[in-house]
């Protein structure tokens, strides 16, 4: 069975007011699909972190969510500037977020590390033109 597209939403750079909107829409959708609450929680956390990452670090991008009977796939695509050192970005506590963002309570450096923790597979491609993060959560 082909993967169904559940969500395809634009995420704007610096748009903290809407931060979390895509992940709450995802949660609602997954609840309507009657998925296990533990899976929904994982997907919410991952979608939220990726959404906030686009807002803080990129020039804007999209969050897509696809689903099949076996898996939820969350894809975050942005238009740069790219992650300089992916390995470092996955270290708990490492953050390149500015003070302004940290004061809002974001950018504690748990983002990508949290995504990895709650995912079953994760793949990051990044260059100065943009970053694509693909995260799979298995049922």
């Amino acid at each position: 069975m082909k993967k169904e597209l559940l969500i395809n939403s634009k995420v704007r750079e610096g748009d903290f007011k809407r931060g979390g909107e895509v992940s709450s829409k995802l949660k609602e959708t997954l609840q309507q699909l009657d998925l296990d609450s533990k899976i929904i929680r994982k997907a919410s956390i991952i979608a939220y972190e990726l959404e906030i990452n686009i807002i803080i670090h990129s020039y804007g991008g999209r969050l897509k969510v696809k689903i099949s009977p076996e898996q939820i796939l969350i894809i975050a695509e942005d238009e740069g500037p790219g992650i300089e050192d992916i390995e470092k970005a996955l270290t708990p506590g490492f953050s390149t977020a500015g003070n302004e963002v940290r004061e809002l309570g974001f950018g504690a450096g748990m983002g990508l590390c949290n995504v990895e923790k709650f995912s079953d597979e994760m793949d990051i491609e990044s260059d100065p033109e943009g970053t694509v993060v693909r995260v799979g959560i298995d049922f």
């Binding site: 949660k27 009657d34 929904i40």
Partner: protein, 462 residues
């Protein structure tokens, strides 16, 4: 009690407006045929509809006072918020005396259970690793709200009896020691419908230790009118002795938002926050769900703004209530004094009887992944059709909910007045088209008419 909630509709008072529908935090109400109806599996007894109905068509089911008074060995339990409802000269002993002249065998202060709860929790929190915060189980509405809308956070709800259940269990055990041949019944004075429901469906357990919950509004006048003396004080003086063993005065603050937090905060580093009102609770739970809360160990959550003082059955507004409760607390300190019982509560070996909170009927499951996906697709398509004005004229709170009702077969698309208008418009256009069409003999172009007839014949043959 045949339903799983105590909020009910007084049919003859309902005007069929949609105020309750729009203000329900769990979208549990629909208005159909001029009457509001509650979907049992969604009602969490938060009483938002009772607050919002200007026709007073929503009420709370509570235990009849007469029923409680008819029992012989009946003990009444007083919540801290109740002190704030009564006139200033009603101190603890006066309230108890009045309840006894009314016909109760004894009256106990629920804050003694709160001291046991706090002591247990302090211990848990002191040994807690950092990470996700725990959530108080004291407010049954909050537990139900989480179960319904944030089931994945249910594991964070503290698995311990509520202060009310703790109080009843402790008192009952103590009474059995002295009055072994009597079988006591326990009645709570409730500020909200949820605590009445909790007598029949207690969060986290099969059976409550209580026999009923009388509404504050039902017992208020009888207390004012009751004699200030008389009655058998044998049970009461025994209960007073037990009560003195607990540092219950400071725990009276549990009656308002922040009281639970203060009673915990004394030795803890302040990683406890209070959240009152369902709207604000939603904000915090949303962030908690996204793993976006840091450095918080415990969430005191009360569904009513202002805590139990904000209960819908109370007499006094919650802000006046705060002042009254503060006064009552300092009055008790003056009269009884700090009884030095702080250590005592920590010593109580209370055996919890809390299981998993399974308190509401389960919602229908969609079945297989494919059916669920097909339902979701139908739902998205239906949402695209509907106007998105969320006017609630259809009787559902918003277009998304109407879409769900349509897909599940509980409503039709023309329940939406805009969709109905569209249908009527189409029908009207078709009608005017038809009106403009004359029979061939009266002027339709003969050639066109023949062509038309041939086509119709061909259709018939098919």
């Amino acid at each position: 009690m045949d339903k799983t909630h105590s909020v009910f509709l007084v049919e003859e008072e309902c005007e069929g407006c949609t105020n309750c529908v729009k203000n329900c935090p769990t979208k549990a109400i629909r208005v159909h045929q001029g009457q509001a109806s509650i979907k049992d599996e969604y009602c969490i007894d938060c009483a938002a509809c009772i607050r919002n109905c200007e026709y007073h068509a929503k009420e709370a089911l509570t235990t009849d006072l007469e029923e409680a008074l008819a029992r012989e060995d009946n003990i009444v339990l007083i919540p801290p918020s109740f002190y704030a409802q009564l006139p200033p000269d009603y101190n603890l002993s006066k309230i108890k005396q009045k309840l006894i002249s009314l016909g109760f065998a004894g009256a106990v202060n629920v804050s003694i259970g709160a001291t046991v709860y706090s002591a247990w929790l302090k211990n848990i929190l002191n040994n807690k690793e950092s990470g996700e915060p725990l959530i108080s189980s004291a407010c049954p509405v909050v537990v139900r709200y989480i179960r319904l809308l944030y089931p994945e956070l249910l594991d964070l709800v503290v698995k311990y009896d509520s202060p009310l259940e703790i109080t009843v269990k402790l008192i009952n055990e103590a009474l059995k020691d002295k009055f072994s041949d009597q079988d006591f019944d326990f009645y709570f004075i409730t500020p909200c419908p949820a605590k009445h429901t909790a007598v029949y469906y207690p969060p986290g357990k099969k059976n409550s230790f209580l026999s009923g919950a009388i509404g504050v509004d039902d017992i208020y006048n009888p207390i004012l009118k009751a004699d200030s003396n008389g009655g058998n004080l044998e049970v009461q003086s025994y209960l007073d002795e037990i009560e003195k063993g607990f540092p219950f005065i400071s725990a009276l603050a549990w009656g308002r938002a922040g009281g639970e937090e203060e009673n915990l905060d004394k030795d803890n580093g302040g990683k406890i926050i209070k959240v009152d009102g369902l709207e604000r609770i939603k904000l915090v739970l949303d962030d908690l769900e996204n793993d976006n809360l840091r450095g918080i160990d415990y969430l005191e959550m009360t569904a009513c703004p202002g805590g139990c003082l904000g209960g819908v059955l109370n007499i006094i507004n919650p802000f006046q209530g705060i002042v009254n409760l503060e006064k009552a607390i300092s009055q008790e300190y003056e009269e009884i004094g700090d009884n030095g019982a702080d250590e005592k509560a920590t010593d109580v070996n209370y055996i919890e009887s809390f299981e998993q909170p399974e308190i509401m009927p389960d919602k229908d499951k969609a079945g297989s992944f494919e059916t669920a996906l097909a339902r979701w697709q139908a739902l998205e398509a239906e949402k695209d059709e509907l106007p998105g004005l969320d006017c609630a004229a259809c009787g559902a709170p918003d277009c998304a909910t109407l879409a769900e009702d349509i897909v599940d077969g509980y409503a039709e698309r023309v329940d939406c007045i805009f969709m109905l208008r569209q249908e009527v418009e189409m029908l009207a256009n078709r009608m005017s088209e038809l009106v403009g069409t004359l029979p061939p003999a009266m002027g339709r172009d003969a050639k066109e008419a023949i062509g038309q007839d041939e086509k119709e014949d061909a259709d018939d043959e098919k």
